[in-house]
């Protein structure tokens, strides 16, 4: 029972929720002792993708600004972290530098965004992604161009972390901290300002919200978080080259936030789990498809496309929509109004809380 405003603005609204997150955290910490290498590796990718999804959700889902260029921020983060560490910089300063560099570039990209919206902004960010990919290819003296770069194991406080457990823990901690920072932003003045800009920029401005400042900030934070994830990704796969950061990756990132459910942080995490699992699902389904279809080289991209279309058509609230309904079902069972859980029907107030 909430009895004061303080109860209402707490991070965890009830003891039960706190307990659930506590158990989740404990499970995540103990996972390496129980799970095999493969599962651990997948969860590492969920954490890394999850950071990108949270950053992109802040920008697209909460501020209403589109970006098709997040693969570029991811690449800049990966290369900044990798280049600094090949030159002997330890992991933590290199990791933070990657965040700062991408954040600064995010500000530069955010500036034209002040004058553009919708499809024009999508085109501008797409162009930015192409430029960055091209720069990485051409700037061979630093990035080794198309030959790619080997990424050294991260060194934290003098300890060398391997690409298995070490990276898992680094990604998990980074993911948890980023989640906390973004939750904190969203539940304060800045977060409300971003949502206000998304829903009505003219009203936001008339209430004293500086559109330029907050839009640019949203770009910067989103880019910085994506850059941090990029460094972790570089360590996880230990070898980076320009073609890993193509437009397809930007579309994958976009898929995470759309399928997860725009305007929901839970959705961002669901989306990243989904995107990590999807290639496995495709592999599993391949034997069921006609041989000619199964061998198509574009099968993955086509599947992404079809899934986005299906979600936009049938469940615009994404995976989070299912989650909200499942929670409502469990708390009301067996006393729920008939038809309440039909598609698209949700107790609307639940959607607002992330």
């Amino acid at each position: 029972m909430k009895t004061s405003y303080r109860d209402d603005i707490r991070l965890f609204p009830t003891r039960g929720v706190m307990l659930a997150y506590g158990l989740l955290a404990l499970g995540a910490l103990l996972l390496p002792f129980a799970a095999g290498d493969y599962l651990l590796s997948q969860i590492t990718f969920v954490c890394i993708n999850g950071m990108v999804a949270l950053g992109l959700m802040l920008l697209i889902g909460f501020t209403g600004q589109i970006s098709l260029g997040h693969a570029a921020f991811f690449a800049i983060g990966a290369y900044t972290g990798a280049i600094l560490q090949t030159r002997g910089v330890p992991f933590i300063p290199a990791f933070l530098a990657a965040g700062l560099v991408t954040g600064a570039i995010g500000i530069l990209i955010g500036l034209p965004a002040l004058r553009m919206r919708g499809i024009y902004l999508a085109m501008a960010t797409l162009a930015f992604a192409f430029i960055v990919e091209e720069v990485i290819v051409r700037w061979g003296s630093v990035t080794r161009g198309n030959r790619g770069m080997l990424v050294p194991d991260p060194v934290v406080f003098g300890y060398k972390m391997g690409s298995g457990h070490g990276i898992y823990y680094l990604s998990l901690i980074a993911f948890a901290l980023v989640t906390l920072l973004i939750v904190n932003i969203l539940r304060s003045r800045t977060g409300r300002a971003l949502v206000a800009i998304r829903d009505s920029d003219v009203a936001a401005e008339c209430l004293g919200i500086n559109l330029a400042l907050f839009k640019t900030a949203a770009f910067a934070i989103s880019a910085a978080v994506t850059g941090l994830a990029g460094t972790l990704y570089a360590h996880k796969i230990a070898y980076i080259s320009p073609e890993q950061f193509s437009i397809t990756l930007s579309v994958e990132f976009l898929t995470m936030v759309i399928i997860g459910g725009l305007g929901s942080l839970h959705g961002a995490v669901f989306g990243s789990i989904f995107i990590v699992m999807l290639p496995q699902l495709i592999v599993m389904l391949k034997p069921l498809l006609p041989h000619k279809v199964a061998e198509l080289p574009v099968l993955d991209s086509v599947t992404f496309g079809i899934i986005i279309i299906l979600f936009v058509m049938f469940e615009p609230r994404g995976l989070n929509g299912y989650w909200v309904r499942l929670k409502a079902y469990c708390s009301l069972f067996p006393f729920y109004p008939r038809g309440m859980f039909r598609r698209g029907k949700i107790a609307s107030a639940d959607l607002v809380k992330h």
């Binding site: 904190n184 304060s188 003045r189 300002a193 829903d199 009203a203 008339c206 209430l207 004293g208 919200i209």
Partner: protein, 252 residues
């Protein structure tokens, strides 16, 4: 010097003079209403005051300063808040969060402190929250407090928008057609709220309105405009009797 003063303001859109040299002033504590036929330039005057448009000529003074060149996002800080003719709420947020956005200029937290949730942030959030809850209570919005704004009936959304403007604690409140889309009972209620806003909260009200019953019921002074020009200025009764106003409305 007057509390609020528009001096000879004008704006044209591609040769059409939407507002063509209008001068008027509002005294503190007044309820001042702008009336006029459709397309007369009433909302344009509001957009000039909110600084959404730049006047091509003239000067706007408020509370002892020239606000003609102040950026739109500084206007609320100076003490002017507004509502919109077709409601501009944040539809996907709940009522309380909408009103909390109204507190934006009064919550002095910075982004870094918010990210780390430093102790000052929670304290300032609480203070803003208390103010927002006072407004929810004042406007009797408690039943809708946690509801998503987009799902609420039109009349309630009008009240939420008014609440959001009040949350900014303005000295001057601009109401753009507070009765539009409302039925007769709701309009009477709005009249009572407007009086309360002036009498209880002491806020000066500048309003654009079509419903003459509402205008006569609450206004201290009325200005009639037509084709961007001032037609008449005076008490509600004087303006309604004015032959120029009568002919503008009846089209003789």
């Amino acid at each position: 010097m007057a509390f609020f003063e528009a001096h000879d303001i004008a704006i044209s859109f591609g040769g059409i003079k939407a507002v063509d040299g209008i001068t008027f002033d509002v005294e503190p504590g007044q309820i001042f209403t702008i009336i006029g036929p459709n397309g007369a330039g009433k909302t344009t005057i509001f957009n000039l005051i909110s600084r959404i448009y730049n006047p091509t000529a003239g000067r706007i003074m408020f509370d002892g300063r020239d606000i003609t060149a102040v950026p739109a996002n500084r206007i609320a800080r100076l003490g002017i808040a507004r509502t919109f003719q077709n409601i501009e709420l944040f539809d996907n947020a709940n009522v309380l969060d909408n009103i909390m956005v109204g507190r934006h200029i009064h919550i002095g937290t910075n982004m870094l402190a918010e990210m780390l949730r430093l102790p000052g942030v929670a304290r300032k959030e609480m203070a803003a929250r208390r103010k927002a809850e006072e407004i929810v209570e004042f406007l009797r919005l408690q039943p809708y407090r946690d509801a998503r704004v987009g799902s609420l009936p039109y009349g309630v959304r009008k009240m939420v928008e008014m609440g959001r403007a009040l949350a900014a604690e303005p000295k001057l409140l601009l109401l753009d057609e507070p009765s539009s889309g409302l039925n007769v009972e709701e309009t009477d209620e709005i009249a009572a709220w407007i009086r309360d806003i002036r009498n209880v909260l002491g806020i000066t009200v500048l309003m654009v309105e079509h419903d003459m019953r509402l205008v006569s019921a609450v206004s201290d002074r009325v200005m009639a405009v037509h084709y961007g020009r001032l037609l008449a200025l005076g008490t509600p009764a004087e303006v309604q009797r004015d032959p120029a106003v009568v002919s503008a409305y009846l089209g003789t």
